[in-house]
């Protein structure tokens, strides 16, 4: 089965090979962190996409002050949205020889004689950490500054240093009513050297924004995990140190508490329109298109972006314009996180529908924020944008607005309808409603009659049918009771004529047992009598009589007198007695 799957995959990749050849080649360089200490190991990954082979290994510029070690290569093929991407990754490890800020890259690679260059990344190398190593497993917490302004963004970094294998890690962050913590990016893992010992470090970065003034302690963070200590009998790492072979111990490591002083924003120089934005921000505005006909619309976009408490970026308002109508779109806030903190942007859009022709300047938008680095308030403004409104036909204007409503403004959210007054709806004045009236709330006799009538009709018909059936049954019973008497009377009248006697016997059986026989055979008569409880001897006697009568009739003596030799009325009386 596995062989078949492998074969299918191979054929599939072979088929895809032509697509790969035509793909664009790009090269990208990525460091596993932006800051490290001397002797720390920084991982560099050079990713090449669009090909799985190159003329040579990539050459990385800017690594003269580093020891570089090759980490290996790996190739990949992936299919995303039906597109096939193949690539190769080269991994290297850098170890800095001195401190400073270095620009790593670009990485250069030659594929089929054509050379490609990657991006560059900055790496800050600091002095070796003087931290105290606390055994094989410990947690440290650092704060980017122990003094901050209210709403200023700080970095709270947790680092788990370990020289043992761990699993099932869970984290308990400090709780406080004085600041908010938000995780930045995914945790990073790298190697670091502390006091000459190499540790595997798991680093988690948080954005910390204080929202109360004063001096306070940031309580320690706690990390719970299962640790697999190395074999103590030997200093060498044993094969059996692997978590697969050992049960592990539950461990909790605690970071050190940190102090933080939060000061209020200065009152001096605070602009009137200050809304509490702290950080570093930029603002820009664009009008597209800058020339429209009356009735057509242009889009004014104002984008406010920067780093800091981006969630507090206020919604800007566009002033009313005499020459155009303004329709506001729902502002879009985008918040991103990188290793240096939260950054984001708020984009506000307005549809500007021109009404009066002319060349106009849209007033600039301004906003103020506090820059904690310079400890000053700053006011930033957009540069004024101009809008030229050309003459346009009213019909065209209306059509364009409708068109815009239907198509153009797909991304524009509708404004909530705002109440500008409240009153009740007017009285109902139609005379018809008075004449029509309402359905009576309490059903009257007639109404109940209408409900009960179908039931009564059904019951009446049902009872009638039942009565009819029972009546028919009772008539048959009366006839059955009188059948014997009627037979005796007929017998006395025509006792010696076989034809009449045979008819009288048949009539008797028909009436007695509610039958409709047109003719009667002796066997049939016996069966009828027996089925109604008459004894075999008695039935046999009637059998003999009927057979005798039939013989007489079929020999042409049906009208001649004959002697049946039996007391026929007595036999009928006996039959009557024996019937159940």
């Amino acid at each position: 089965m596995r062989n078949i799957a492998f074969l299918i995959l191979t054929v599939f990749l072979f088929i895809l090979a032509p697509f790969e050849a035509g793909a664009d080649i790009s090269i990208r360089l990525k460091l596993d962190r932006k800051e490290a200490a001397i002797m720390d190991s920084v991982r560099v990954v050079v990713s090449v996409s669009g090909t799985r082979k190159s003329d040579s290994d990539p050459v990385i510029r800017g690594v003269d002050d580093f020891e570089i070690t090759r980490g290996g290569t790996s190739s990949k093929v992936e299919i995303v949205n039906g597109r096939v991407n193949s690539g190769i990754e080269y991994t290297y490890y850098l170890r800095a020889k001195k401190e400073g800020l270095f620009r790593i890259g670009p990485a250069e690679l030659t594929v089929d004689g054509e050379s490609f260059k990657s991006n560059t990344e900055d790496l800050k190398i600091q002095k070796p950490r003087a931290g105290v190593a606390r055994g094989n497993l410990f947690l440290t917490a650092t704060l980017s500054s122990d003094r901050a302004y209210i709403y200023e963004q700080l970095l709270y970094i947790l680092r788990l240093h370990r020289r043992v294998n761990v699993s099932n890690i869970s984290l308990e962050l400090p709780e406080s009513g004085q600041f908010t913590l938000k995780q930045l990016e995914e945790p990073e893992e790298y190697q670091a050297v502390i006091n000459g010992q190499t540790y595997q470090v798991l680093e988690i970065r948080y954005s910390l924004i204080p929202y109360r003034e004063g001096n306070f302690d940031i309580q320690p963070s706690r990390m719970h995990m299962t640790a697999f200590e190395p074999n103590r009998r030997s200093n060498l790492r044993s094969f059996f140190d692997d978590p697969f072979f050992s049960a592990g111990q539950a461990k909790t490591v605690v970071s050190e508490p940190l102090g933080l002083t939060v000061v209020s924003l200065p009152d001096s120089g605070r602009p009137e329109n200050f809304t509490g934005l702290v950080g570093n921000f930029e603002i820009e505005s664009v009008m597209e298109p800058t020339s429209i006909k009356a009735g057509e619309s242009a889009t004014l976009t104002v984008r406010l972006s920067g780093k800091g408490n981006v969630n507090s970026i206020p919604d800007l308002k566009c002033p009313e314009l005499d020459y155009a109508r303004i329709y506001a779109d729902q502002p879009v806030l985008k918040v991103e996180a990188d290793a240096k903190g939260l950054k984001g942007s708020k984009t506000m859009k307005w549809a500007v529908v021109g009404e009066k022709e002319g060349l106009y300047k849209i007033p600039s938008f301004s906003i103020s924020f506090f820059d904690p680095k310079s400890s000053k308030y700053r006011i930033i403004s957009t540069s004024p944008v101009s809008l030229s409104i050309l003459p346009g036909q009213k019909e065209q204007a209306a059509a364009s607005i409708i068109e815009e409503k239907n198509e153009g403004a797909k991304s524009r959210a509708k404004e909530e309808v705002k109440e500008i007054g409240s009153d009740i709806l007017p009285v109902h004045t139609s005379m018809d409603i008075l004449k029509r009236g309402d359905s009576p709330q309490t059903p009257g006799m007639v109404s109940w009659g209408a409900v009960l009538l179908p039931c009564f009709i059904y019951l009446g018909v049902f009872a009638g049918l039942r009565f009819q059936k029972s009546n028919e049954r009772s008539l048959a019973a009366v006839r059955a009771k009188k059948a014997a008497g009627k037979f005796v009377r007929q017998y006395r009248k025509n006792r010696t004529v076989p034809g009449d006697l045979s008819l009288a016997v048949r009539n008797y059986l028909n009436e007695r047992f509610n039958l409709t026989l047109g003719s009667l055979t002796p066997e049939e008569a016996v069966r009828i009598l027996k089925s109604n409880g008459v004894k075999s001897d008695t039935a046999q006697k009637l059998y003999v009589i009927i057979e005798m009568l039939e013989n007489a009739i079929y020999t042409g003596e049906g009208n001649a007198p004959c002697d049946v030799g039996e007391d026929v009325p007595g036999l009928i009386s006996q039959i009557e007695r024996e019937i159940r």
């Binding site: 409240s422 009153d423 009740i424 709806l425 007017p426 009285v427 109902h428 004045t429 005379m431 409603i433 008075l434 009236g437 309402d438 359905s439 009576p440 709330q441 309490t442 059903p443 109404s447 209408a450 409900v451 179908p454 039931c455 009709i457 059904y458 018909v461 049902f462 049918l465």
Partner: protein, 254 residues
């Protein structure tokens, strides 16, 4: 012969007199309604109130008349009586959009936050509140007619299709019957009352000297448990009940 002519003439005269009388009453009703509507439009709400009330007292109970009366009270600032008449109108024309809008507006202006206790059966038979008793009754009557008609057909012809139709009708007949029964029960046992005074003290007993437990304000809909010597024992929740003077509240049901 003369005698017969005299009798026939008398019968005809009486017949036409009754018809004329009914027509006169109808014209009078239309006139009152028309004048009240005009008074409402001109802002003479007191006159409008008198007119609508006369119509109701003279037996022309109609959801729209109650609605108009509620509007007139609303305009005079009597929110309690407005709520009362809107609620009465809702029994008759529950799906009227104007009525429901105005009732919401009136309730919005009331002061007391009293949760509406919706009976469990109304949650199960959720459509009950959207139909008047009369509508549910006639809905049931029509289903009843079809149900017995199919049963009747099956007395003579027991076909398969009639069996399935009978099953469907039986289910609908039961549902419609329960819906009507519940609504009728609620209509006949409607013990809701509306506070019509600006403010009323709810006392611990039916005496002016009893301890005041809490206050209610006009427009509050309460449950009137029983009346006793000009006092109502009202309840708004299991923990809040007490006595108020009968003139402070008016029952929605009559």
């Amino acid at each position: 012969m003369k005698r017969y002519i005299w009798i026939v003439t008398s019968i005809l005269v009486s017949f036409f007199s009754v018809i004329n009388c009914a027509r006169a009453q109808e014209e009078n009703r239309d006139e009152i309604f028309f004048n009240s509507n005009n008074a409402c439009r001109d802002g003479n709400y007191k006159e409008a109130i008198d007119g609508y009330r006369r119509l109701i007292i003279s037996g022309h109970e109609n959801g729209h008349v109650y609605y108009n009366l509620g509007n007139a009270y609303f305009k005079t600032g009597q929110i309690g009586r407005a709520v009362l008449n809107y609620e009465r109108a809702r029994m008759l024309i529950p799906r009227d959009a104007d009525l429901n809008f105005n009732l919401r507006s009136a309730r919005y202006r009331t002061q007391d936050a009293i949760p509406e206790n919706r009976p469990f059966i109304n949650s199960v038979f959720f459509w009950i509140d959207d139909f008047s008793t009369g509508e549910l009754f006639w809905g049931f009557a029509v289903l009843n007619l079809f149900f017995w008609a199919v049963l009747l057909i099956r007395l003579f012809r027991r076909s398969e299709w009639s069996y399935y139709i009978l099953l469907i009708l039986l289910v609908l007949w039961i549902v419609a019957g329960i819906s009507f029964g519940c609504r009728w029960h609620q209509f006949r046992n409607d013990e809701r009352a509306v506070i019509v005074q600006k403010e009323v003290d709810v006392l611990a007993g039916p005496d002016i000297n009893d301890t005041a437990l809490f206050k209610l304000h006009e427009g509050a809909v309460v449950h009137n448990e029983r009346s006793e010597n000009g006092w109502y024992l009202i309840q708004i929740s299991e923990k809040q009940r007490g006595w108020i003077p009968a003139q402070a509240a008016e029952n929605i049901g009559k």
